[in-house]
């Protein structure tokens, strides 16, 4: 295959941290190239170099055989590169066609023409997008497709996709990735940044693995497998995780009966009817596709959403690990010690009357950093400066520090790499082993099945407890069709 994009000997250093060292990367025409690596391995930095967002310290970029200096995203777009970020970059109040026209630089003096052009393009690439919908009203899956549509409308022949499936439900992710495959016939090549081996193995032609800023593996996908990829990513064979012996479930800590909770910010019911128990010493998994009432159920158990009807009894203290680390679980500008003080409230040992003894809070933070293996420069470091995995380690440390009777975790492994994910699983199991009632929702069903003792499926706001030994297929079916 002729090379469409070549990054040659790219190096980039931030202060004393080497983000990329002498990286070579080749993207062939019509190819899907998976880029794997742990958080902090340099994947995003490399793609930001290709998109003109980051200037490399050395190295060159060759597009279609011509050496290019990409000084900005505008120049990258002109060179035929489109980037699909993890976050939504459209204007919510604009319609789909207006957003496309804005990015592609089309004239909007004749709205009908632009609208038709967008409709035709969406049809051609198989996206079910109505050009007149307001971008802000689209579902997560359609928002993602709008981002791709914008890039293609701007004549991108190279798509850089940063974890495109992270916000999608499993079924939708599958569909999206198969659509990505169909772009190959249009001569569009894609780089797929992902954490998930299954995605890479399923649709990519080629794979490159980065570790600590260096390429450790590159080759066709057909000659590798999940075990080998895991070894490349982690640098060693991941140890078989010990599943801690589940303690015998103890007293009932959470009792929910016929609970109904309204969806936040709307009048419709988010949780229609849920009846469930959670006992000390067990992990109860909540399986649900995004938006099926899991948020309302978990928040109600954590005492942060009001029940419309039904009964709910929860032992205290109940501690919530909110889904959004950076906006709900931590204050980015605050130091780790300040974040610990925030989470522990007025009952903490460093609070004396109205005063806070910071020395004591810093000492305790330093101990937690040590015992939870948080990679941080110290308790003075702002939370913003930590990687996602390390932020989550700190969040869990703070949650357990409150000695909860009930621990509620909303998708606590979102966006984390393999190693951090496994560690979070272990922490949740260990908490249950120590007698906490753990209720957890994970977006990934395989993950959830490996962590939970029991699984409750929520579909369209209706809860169903799955019998012990239920198969993955049975649970998946219940998630999609259940509820009636």
């Amino acid at each position: 295959m002729p090379s469409l994009l070549t990054l040659r000997n790219i190096s980039k250093q931030y202060g004393s941290v080497v983000a990329l060292r002498d990286v070579n990367f080749d993207l062939g025409a019509g190819e899907i190239h998976a880029l794997l690596g742990e958080n902090g391995a340099g994947k995003s930095t490399l793609m930001n170099v290709a998109f003109g967002l980051v200037r490399p310290d050395s190295g060159s970029i060759v597009i279609d055989g011509h050496q290019q200096q990409l000084r900005s995203p505008v120049e990258a777009r002109r060179a035929g590169i489109g980037m699909v970020h993890q976050h939504f970059t459209s204007i919510p109040a604009f319609s789909v066609w207006e957003n496309v026209a804005l990015t592609a630089g089309w004239s909007i003096s004749r709205p009908r023409v632009a609208e038709e052009r967008v409709r035709a393009l969406a049809q051609r690439i198989g996206f079910d997008l109505d050009p007149r919908s307001r971008a802000g009203d689209l579902s997560a899956g359609l928002k993602q497709r709008l981002e791709v549509l914008k890039a293609i409308a701007a004549d991108a022949r190279i798509l850089l996709l940063d974890e495109p499936s992270s916000a999608l439900s499993p079924a939708d992710a599958e569909q999206f990735l198969s659509q990505l495959r169909s772009f190959k016939t249009m001569g569009i090549a894609s780089v797929l940044i992902t954490h998930k081996f299954s995605e890479a193995l399923g649709i990519a032609d080629t794979v490159t693995v980065l570790r600590r800023g260096e390429v450790v593996h590159n080759g066709p996908i057909s000659t590798t497998n999940a075990t080998e990829l895991a070894r490349h990513i982690l640098g060693e064979v991941p140890p078989d995780r010990l599943r801690l012996a589940a303690a015998v479930p103890g007293d009932v800590r959470v009792r929910v009966e016929s609970l109904t909770v309204l969806r936040q910010g709307s009048s419709g019911p988010g949780l229609r009817t849920a009846t469930m128990l959670a006992r000390a010493g067990e992990v109860v998994g909540i399986a649900a596709v995004e938006g099926n009432g899991q948020r309302e159920l978990l928040r109600a158990i954590a005492g942060m959403a009001e029940a419309k009807s039904g009964r709910i009894d929860v032992a205290t203290p109940v501690v919530l690990i909110p889904e959004d680390r950076t906006s709900e679980a931590l204050i980015g500008d605050f130091s780790l010690a300040e974040n610990l003080v925030l989470s522990q409230g007025g009952a903490a040992p460093w609070v004396r009357g109205p005063w806070i003894r910071w020395r004591q809070a810093h000492d305790r933070t330093a101990q937690l950093i040590e015992s939870f293996g948080v990679r941080a420069a110290g308790s003075e470091m702002p939370a913003r400066g930590l990687s996602g995995g390390n932020q989550q380690r700190m969040v869990i440390a703070a949650a357990l520090e409150r000695r909860p009777a009930v621990l509620v975790a909303e998708n606590p492994t979102r966006g984390l790499d393999f190693k951090a994910t496994a560690e979070i699983h272990d922490r949740l199991r260990a908490a249950a082993g120590a007698g906490v009632a753990v209720i957890v929702h994970l977006a990934d069903l395989d993950e959830l099945m490996s962590v939970a003792d029991r699984i409750v499926v929520l579909a369209a706001g209706i809860a169903t407890e799955m019998p012990t030994g239920a198969s993955r297929d049975a649970i998946g079916r219940q998630m999609l069709t259940g509820g009636g």
Binding site: S44, G385, A398
Partner: protein, 357 residues
């Protein structure tokens, strides 16, 4: 790194002032003024003599520091109080009224006793009035979701209009000629340093600055305030803080401080209420707080800085014929430079934290 935050914001403010003065000098030269003469008049007016310092700069710094502390309190709690001007006037009206009434009762008590009773009541009335003036936006926000930026701003006009009516109506001086109040009796006046216009309000402002600094740094309530301002969602979810309550109290406290500034101005400097009592203290106070990066200790420094600039500006107008309004160029330039420096510092900090999400 080793420099503490209060020091750093003062250093950057000083550097920004340098830039501001250069811009002013250029502007003056281009418009045909003698820049050197104008700037030396300004310097002389700001710190050329003991009189400039003790009667022009320091008295002006008192309301600016008090209001700046109040704005800092509100902003740190996430309440954007743009209404210090109105709260200042509310405090000034209440102080005038209480001063005239209570001052009347205490006649014949002996100077010391009369003052010990009257002055605290005057200041207390100012504090309460300022807080009540701020209570309106608090209720509007918490009950009806009205943005405090808008309600506090609009209440400024109401405050000004109220003063204007007061000094032509209920509080007009006894001869009913001039649009101002009677002079406060001596019992209602804050003690002045002999031979200067500097009054005891300065000590009050300094003590409050230290107290507010300690509050934010060492107390749980102050921490809740900072957390609410930094990220209200995380403060509520993880910190289980009642952020609506914190917001309301921060805005009330802010109003109380602005009200105190109004009371101290009437009781310590002007001894009477009149229209345009404030030359925009409520707005300059925002700049004072922002320039101090909301740090109460740094607010002392930035309050003095703006007081010196404005005192210098008056002298510049008097002695060099340059309109005092030109000093706004310096003030605006300082704010822009500091904001740019801050934005840049954040970007560098983010970069240093690494490009990876």
């Amino acid at each position: 790194m080793g420099v503490n935050p209060a020091m750093r914001s003062l250093l950057s403010a000083a550097a920004a002032m340098g830039v501001g003065l250069v811009v002013l000098a250029l502007g003056l030269t281009l418009s045909g003024y003698d820049a050197i003469a104008a700037l030396s008049a300004m310097a002389a007016g700001a710190f050329g003599s003991p009189d400039a310092i003790f009667s022009a700069v320091l008295p002006r710094a008192i309301p600016l520091i008090l209001i700046g502390l109040g704005i800092g309190l509100a902003f740190r709690g996430g309440a954007l109080n743009i209404g210090a001007e109105g709260q200042f006037y509310a405090g000034a009206i209440a102080a005038t009224w209480v001063g005239l009434v209570v001052g009347g009762w205490t006649i014949g008590w002996g100077a010391t006793w009369a003052r010990l009773v009257t002055v605290p009541l005057v200041l207390l009335a100012a504090v309460i009035a300022g807080a009540l003036w701020a209570a309106v936006p608090v209720i509007l926000k918490l009950r009806f979701g009205v943005l405090e930026v808008i309600s506090t701003l609009l209440l400024n006009f109401v405050g000004e209009a109220l003063v204007s009516w007061m000094v032509q109506g209920p509080l007009q001086e006894s001869k009913h000629i001039y649009p101002q109040s009677d002079l406060l009796p001596v019992a209602a006046r804050l003690p002045q340093w002999p031979g200067t216009r500097l009054h005891l309000g300065l000590v009050l402002a300094l003590l409050l600055a230290i107290a507010l600094w300690a509050f934010g740094r060492w107390t749980l309530a102050g921490f809740a305030l900072r957390a609410t301002g930094a990220n209200p969602v995380a403060a509520a979810v993880v910190g289980r803080i009642n952020t609506r309550r914190v917001f309301g109290l921060a805005l009330l406290g802010s109003g109380a401080l602005a009200g105190l500034a109004g009371g101290a101005e009437v009781s310590g400097t002007t001894f009477a209420l009149f229209q345009n009592l404030s030359p925009g203290y409520g707005f300059t106070g925002i700049a004072v707080a922002l320039l101090a990066q909301l740090n109460p200790l740094a607010t002392i420094g930035t309050g003095l800085l703006f007081a010196a600039l404005e005192a210098g500006a008056s002298a510049m107008q008097r002695d060099a014929g340059v309109p005092a309004i030109a000093v706004y160029v310096v003030e605006a330039t300082i704010i822009i430079v500091v904001l740019l420096a801050e934005a840049n510092r954040r970007r560098v900090a983010l970069r240093a934290a690494g490009g990876e999400a």
